[in-house]
Structure formats: C-alpha cells, structure tokens
Assembly symmetry: C2
Homo-oligomer: 518 residues x 2
C-alpha cells in the first residue's frame, strides 16, 4: 500500500468519511486511493471555494470534520476565503493540499508556490508531510487538532509521499485531547460579578454554547441574576426557534451595536470575542462596549463551554430556575405578506412557512436584516451563517449542510452579489441531488456598500461609483444560471409568486432556486 | 484631499488609467476618490479572480500595468490564483488591497488576516502603506517595480491612510529603472558556444523576446548558427502568424518534451527558465534537458531581452541573415472540417477563420493541443495563454485583453472545467460590451486528469474517481449560463454548426459564447 492509502485509512478510522474535492495532477494517487475506498463519500466542487465552504457547512452540522482535497498552492488559494470563514466559526476541517514531489520543488515548476505562507493565515494548524510513513501521523494530528483547537487544519501532501510505499499497519482511532475545564475560582468570581451587576451584566456566547441545552442553561443564569444574553455578531451555528432561547446577536451597523451594548457594565465572554466594529469608521470606537465596561473572558473556544455554563449555573443555584428569553411560537394563523415583493416580505414568508427541523444558511447580508428576528418563534431549526465576512459562502454552506443532514430541508438565504462568488456550487447541489432551496435576494446591487458610501459622506454617486457598486446592466438572470448548472428555478416579483414558489420548493426533494426580485 | 485621492493621482500621472475592482467597506474612500476621476476606467468583476485575471490580460496587451482594487485578505485570497499566473508571466500589476484602519487591526475584527503572508507567495513586491503621506511613494514604488522587476506588486492600503489628509502636491511621473544590459563578454562567450554546437544548440525565449522583432532577430541567429529555437512551455504573450517565426513551445506531456529536447547539448536561456516537468512523475527526470546539456542563462526577466538578442546577432554578424523558421501563410482555399464535432476540428476551424490582428486567449488545456500548430500560418495575431497552471484565467484574460485593445477581436479558447472557475467573468464581458468570442470545449470532464490517472497506472475508474474527474451528471449548459450573465450564446454539435456560429460571432461586435460539444 502507499501513503495515499494510509491517508484514506487514517481518515476513515477516525470516522472522517466525506471528502470535498477538486483534484489535480499532483493528487492522482490520492484520487486512486479514494477510488479504492467506496465507504468514503467524495463530493466534487467545480471551484475550491465551493470545496471548503461545503466542508465548513458539513462540519457545523455533523460535528466532525470533513476532509478536502485541494490542488497545490493556487488551488488552496481559491479555497482560502472560505477557510477564513471556517476559522472564524472555529469549524473543524482537514484540508489535504497536494504539492509537487519533495525532490521536484527545487525546479520551481509553474505551479510551485509557498503553500505554508498561504495556508497559515487561514489555518489554526499547518503541517507538511515529510515521508510516506509520516502521512498517518500527520493526518492523525490534524484530526485531533481540528477537534481540540478547534479549527481549520491544513496538511501538505507531497506527491511522492502519496505514491511512496508504507508498511501495512493496524490503525486505531486518534485520541483527541479533552477540552480545558474552567477553574472553579474563576467561576465563583464571575458568579459574584453577575450577582453584583444584575441587569447591567451580559453573557455573550458562541460556538458550542449556542446549542439548545447550554443556551437554555445560560438563560437560567440570566433569570437568576437579571443578566442579559447575547450571541456574537456572527456564529458557526445556533439552535433556534420556538421553545428555545431567542438570543439576540450583536448588530452589524456600528451605531446600532453601540446603542445595543451601551448600558452593559459587565460582559462575560463564553467562547466569544470582545465585540468590536466589523470595520473602523472615522470618529467611532473600535470596541462596542463602553470604556469602563468590565470584560471577563471566562472561556475561549476549545474550552468546555457547556461545562463552563453548567458550573456557573451550579454556583448560582440556577440549574432549576426557569430560563429567561424563551421564544414563544409564532401565530399559526398569521397572514402572509402580499403585493410587490421586497426583502422584508421574503424574510417574513420564509420564517412563516419554515418547515420543522430546517437548516438555514444565511448569507443574505443587507437584505436579510429582519430575518433573524422573524425566526425567533418559528419551528425549531438550525441557523448557520457567514462568519468571517468573506462573501461567497452561502451556496457552499448549503451544500455541506445538506450532505451532513440528508433528511432535513436546507434553506439558503442568499444575497445576489455574494452568491455570484461561488455560484458554481449550484452544480454540486444538482450533481448530489441535495435538498436545498436557495432564495436569491436579487436587488442587483452591492446594497451594503451603498450604505457604507453614505457612511463616508458620499450621497451623489458618479459613473465610477455606480459601475463598482451596482450589479445591473445587465441584470443577472438567476433562473438561467441555475438551469445552466442543472438546478430548477423560478422567478418571483410579487409576494404571492414567491409564496407559491417557496411552497412548491418545500413540497419536493432536491435543489430549487428562487430568484426573488426585490 | 485625502490619501485615496493621492493614490488615484499617482496612478494617473503614471498613465495607469484602468482599475479592475471588487470593492468592500474598507475601500469606500478609494471608491469615492475613483468617482472623482472620470479619466480612470473602473471595471467591476463579480469575483476577485476575474479582477486579477483581467489585470493580467490587460497588461500583457497594453504593456503597462492596470491597478486592481481588492477587499481585505479574503478578497485578495480570491485573487491569488490569477496573481500566481501573472507572476509566472512576469506581468506588471498593481494590486491595491484595502485593510482595516491601522488602529483597528488590534481588535482582530472578523475580516482581519495576515495580508502580507498571503500576498508574498504570489507577488514580486509587497508593501504596506504607513500613513496618508506614504500613499504616493508606495504607489510610485509599486509602479516602478511592476515594470522593472517586472511583475506583480501588492500594496496594502489601511482605511485610515485612504481617508487621512495629505498636502496637495505637484506629481511627476515615477522614474522606472532601465533594464540591465547583458555583459559583452557573456554575449561573446555564448556566441562562441552557439557556433560550436550548431544544430545541437537551442535558444529558448520568453517575455518580451517573443515579440515579432526580437523573435525574428533570434531566428537570424539560428539561421547563422544552425541553432534551434523554442519558447518556454507557457508564456505571457507571443506575436504569431504568417510571416513571423513559427516558434515551437516546450511540450506539456513529459515524454513528448523529453523527446523534443533530447538532442540539445547547449541551451541558451533568454528570459526563460530551464525547462522542467510541469509535475514530477515516478521514475522520470525533473529537468527536460539531458544531464550533460550545458545551460547558459544569458538573460533573466527584467534584463533587456531584445537588446540581448540584438547583441548576440551583432556578435555573430547575423543582423542581416534571413531569419529561419518563418511561417508561410496557410492555404487560402483549404476545406473546413465537417461532420461530428471534436476538439481538433474546433481548433482547425478557428485557425482557418481567424481574423487579422486577433488576440487569442488560450485556456483550452487538453482540448487545444493541436491549436498552437494550426495557427503557425494563420493571419498575424497575439497569443496569450495560461502561464502558471492555475486554471480559471481564460475568461478574465479575455476581459483584460479586450479592455486593452477595443479594436481587436478577442477569441477565448476555453476548457469547460477551467472556465467554471471564473465563469462570472462573462458578466463583465456583457457589462463592458467587450468584443470577445468564447469557444468552450464542452467535453464534460477534467480530460487532462483522465490522462494523468492512466499515467499513475489506473485504467479502470471506480465510482469515486468518476465522481471527481467527470463533469457530466448534470452536463453544464453553457448557453443558459452565458444568457444568465447577459452574453449571447449558441451550441454546436457538428463542425458545420460550429463554423456557422463562429462566422456569425466574427461578423458582429460584442461578447458571444459558443458551446462546442465534443
């Protein structure tokens, strides 16, 4: 057997059995090895941004990493933006990047590049395989790191390490380090602070703290102390809907975020980062809490976040306190919007018709600002969103979520400008017959940038600004593009048309795209 | 005025008047400044790979750099693969990457990343702007470096350096260092070696040595000494067609390349790198010349390549020798292929119908292997091709070439798998009404990888290999995709249909796509 076989076996022994791929010549032995492992599900993306975006969506829903297969530095370069998003979501991922044979690098052949330099900014772990026998240890380390850091790992596989021989061996599952437990004294201190600050305290969560159980436990702490609860501005996954905590996220618009957090004197971070402006704006602060706000970083990603919340509740004798902020179900008989379509109507219709146990992939950017609130009382669902601000993840995220959860409906809330970045992902949805409804907000502009231009004081746009901020002339025809990639699609210009198309899409299996002209 | 205004003025004073762009919030002041400069042509790409691929195509044809506008690390990450190709073509380019305000970086906001680490592998020059007053010097340095190295330059523009004030100043053109002249003694020595080795010598060219004049001069040297002539495997631009040198390129398939160069005992490199295998293959050499071949690197990119060839001709008294290898015009009355379409027929028809002064953008990969030879005797044209092996440059290259040369017909020879990487570029062709005919070789497979799998000994493909190497199920419908982005298109399944569509596309202005089903 060769190094590539060992690679596949090491993945499989660790239950990593999905590989999102876009191969090239230097990975032919890896492809041949995958071909010998029918238990590995290989999913082709027609561009590497689709590959890593799908791996991100998959792991967020499967709670285990997928592998990716990427071709040399340039292939990985195409994958970096969605690795960046995954890194910001603390998503476990094992990228396998093929490189030239070790002895061929000296020749600086055309595809040669410094893969490590490219990989490090978007990876929590980078490792170059040194020999065929090093393949197994390297993949094992990456697997453990992906789950314990947690995050994006990148392993560079020289072609001769893939094709070189290895001794057969009995493989066993790689041990994963247990998450760090937060110190009891720190728990006690923070509990005391929460008691002291009452409603001027807030707990901010991300990562595994945003699952139903830990979030409800945090809401018990809030009920016991009067504290408020927030999720970060962007998070890998939130379990949402009626009966769960209606957790607010930090707002993106800086003035709204400053307003939202202005009375918080104590901020307890459980996995979350201290909230900061997505961008700097002249004359506005970078941190979103006031200068005298006490910030307590109780736990960081990789720590036992649910255990931290449990310990805090225990310390506050709040384990049985009824949780605060539980969402009540939306009215069953509410009327659906009608008339000319706009973004808010699209959001309201999707929230109202949301099927039980759906997965929402949100890259709606400016169009979906009301959507998160609309869904507080919707049937229970998972909400996964763009985390790192690198647009072009929505369609791939939906691919990955649908591969992870074939029995659940995936709904992509997709801005048009962002959707064009990785539009090729529609083909993978068709190829794999994934149960995804993609709702495209066709406003034919980078709407968010119109607002940002006004923020910098430009209200009258000249020709160059219009050329750079508008997507009209010609308008994108999403129905034709989807058809071109094998995805059925329809266009809606009224709320009634949208409702009809959306109901139709929910009533069937397989990919469907709705161009919502707003 | 602010730093962003200074940036635009510094570009314009150096006659850099095209900016390919995909902006984000951190570049709003740059966008506003561009909006105040109607003499700057701003061209939007719906994905950053389109932006840098177009800048590459533009500079190859305009012989001066374009600027690009990219958004933070992830936006530049999307641009890296075509920066890699440009780097391998030694293309001048000035990338301006917006970043957070200097004082905001400490907060590690979601879009923050290590831009320098990402940029360096794909840039010959990287520089972070330190202050508003540093904008002018930084852009000036990048401009000079882009032309003198020559190559890809990347300048990082923190938002506060764009919005901060600068003193008005009288700007003057930035001096560009003159190219290095090759030492006369080295010329004499190489001339002597060429005389000695006769037909077992070869001159290998790239860069500016592949323009009509220098190439003809090199062919005079060949005529005088008996030497052979080659272009590198991949080159930024070759001036080709009847009456010019019919210069062979080094073959991609390793066995063909080894055969092609096996009798060369002296290789004189003028700008070119020593030829090596595009990939390593078990048991095959990395260098394509034999072990005892003497390799003389007479000049490197950035040196005066045409001057080097002139000096060599002078030394050999060959300046008036009739050049060898001049291509004779193709027969005017040759029959066009008929019947079921295949790749070779597409190539033959395009070569035969090629209009005078066309620009060919070649990313045909395996489908276009006969095309280069078919065009030796075609009407004079420029040939620009994928250089770094990072697929997904064909459509953007055509965008850039058409922007640079609005009066010339651009013909994109496009593999389907590669075309999907940056398919969004079709929209820019429509938006700008560029005179581009894109010929898609729709073989519905990564055909080159089928060959490479056989090279590693796999002849029977199982389910996973088929899933990763084939693009069928569903077949891509290029006509619908093009229509969705505003580009008219047609599909051909016979040679007659292809001929009719291609003639029709040549008879009109503006973008057209032909899906050649092969």
């Amino acid at each position: 057997m060769n190094g590539a076989d060992r690679l596949c076996d090491t993945l499989l022994v660790n239950d990593v059995d999905v590989c999102f791929a876009n191969p090239g010549t230097s990975e032919m032995h890896f492809v041949a090895a995958l071909d010998r492992k029918p238990q590995m599900r290989c999913v082709l993306g027609l561009f590497e941004g689709v590959v890593t975006g799908a791996a991100d969506g998959y792991a967020r829903m499967a709670d285990k990493p997928a592998a990716t297969l990427l071709h040399c530095g340039p292939g990985m370069a195409n994958a970096l933006a969605n690795m960046h998003n995954a890194r910001r979501a603390w998503t476990p991922m094992i990228n396998v990047v093929g490189d030239h044979a070790t002895y061929h690098l000296q020749h600086d052949a055309p595809l040669t590049s410094d893969i490590e330099s490219l990989a490090r900014p978007m990876s929590q772990f980078v490792r170059r395989i040194a020999s065929p026998e090093d393949v197994g240890p390297a993949i094992g380390e990456a697997y453990a790191a992906s789950l314990s850091l947690p995050g994006v790992t990148t392993v560079i596989l020289p072609a001769d390490c893939a094709w070189g021989s290895v001794e057969p061996a009995e493989l066993t599952r790689t041990p994963v380090p247990a998450p760090r437990q937060v110190d009891a004294a720190q728990i006690r201190a923070v509990a005391g602070l929460l008691r002291k600050h009452g409603s001027r305290a807030a707990i901010m969560l991300t990562g595994s703290a945003l699952r139903e159980g830990p979030m409800a436990m945090a809401a018990r702490v809030c009920a016991a102390t009067g504290a408020q609860i927030f999720a970060q501005m962007s998070n890998g996954r939130i379990e949402r809907g009626a009966g769960r905590v209606a957790i607010p996220k930090v707002f993106y618009p800086i003035d709204m975020a400053l307003q939202q957090l202005k009375d918080i004197d104590l901020l307890v971070l459980i996995g979350a980062q201290v909230p900061v402006g997505f961008f700097a704006y002249p004359g506005k602060p970078g941190r979103l809490v006031h200068e005298n706000c006490q910030v307590e970083q109780l736990a960081v990603p990789g720590d036992d976040l649910p255990g931290t919340i449990e310990a805090l509740a225990e310390e506050l004798s709040a384990r049985a306190t009824p949780p605060a902020f539980i969402a009540t179900p939306q009215a069953a008989d509410g009327a659906l919007p009608t008339g000319t379509l706009d973004a808010d109507k699209v959001c309201a219709i999707v929230a109202r018709l949301l099927p039980e146990n759906a997965i929402i992939c949100d890259e709606s950017v400016s169009s979906g600002r009301s959507f998160y609130f609309d869904c507080h009382g919707a049937p229970q669902h998972d909400y996964i969103q763009l985390t790192g601000g690198a647009i072009g993840e929505g369609i791939p995220l939906a691919v990955g979520a649908a591969v992870a959860c074939p029995d659940r409906k995936v709904i992509g809330m997709q801005a048009d400008g962002s959707g064009m970045y990785t539009v090729q992902g529609l083909w993978t949805q068709a190829r794999e017959n994934l149960d995804v409804v993609t709702v495209v907000f066709a406003n034919r502009t980078y709407a968010i940038l119109h607002g940002e231009m006004r923020n910098v004081g430009v209200n009258d746009f000249g020709r160059n600004a219009k050329l750079m901020l508008n997507l009209d002339e010609p308008a994108l025809d999403w129905v034709s593009m989807a058809k071109g990639m094998g995805v059925e699609a329809g266009r809606a210009t009224t709320a009634e048309e949208f409702t009809k198309l959306f109901k139709g899409a929910l009533s069937r299996k397989g990919p469907f795209l709705i161009e919502a002209v707003i």
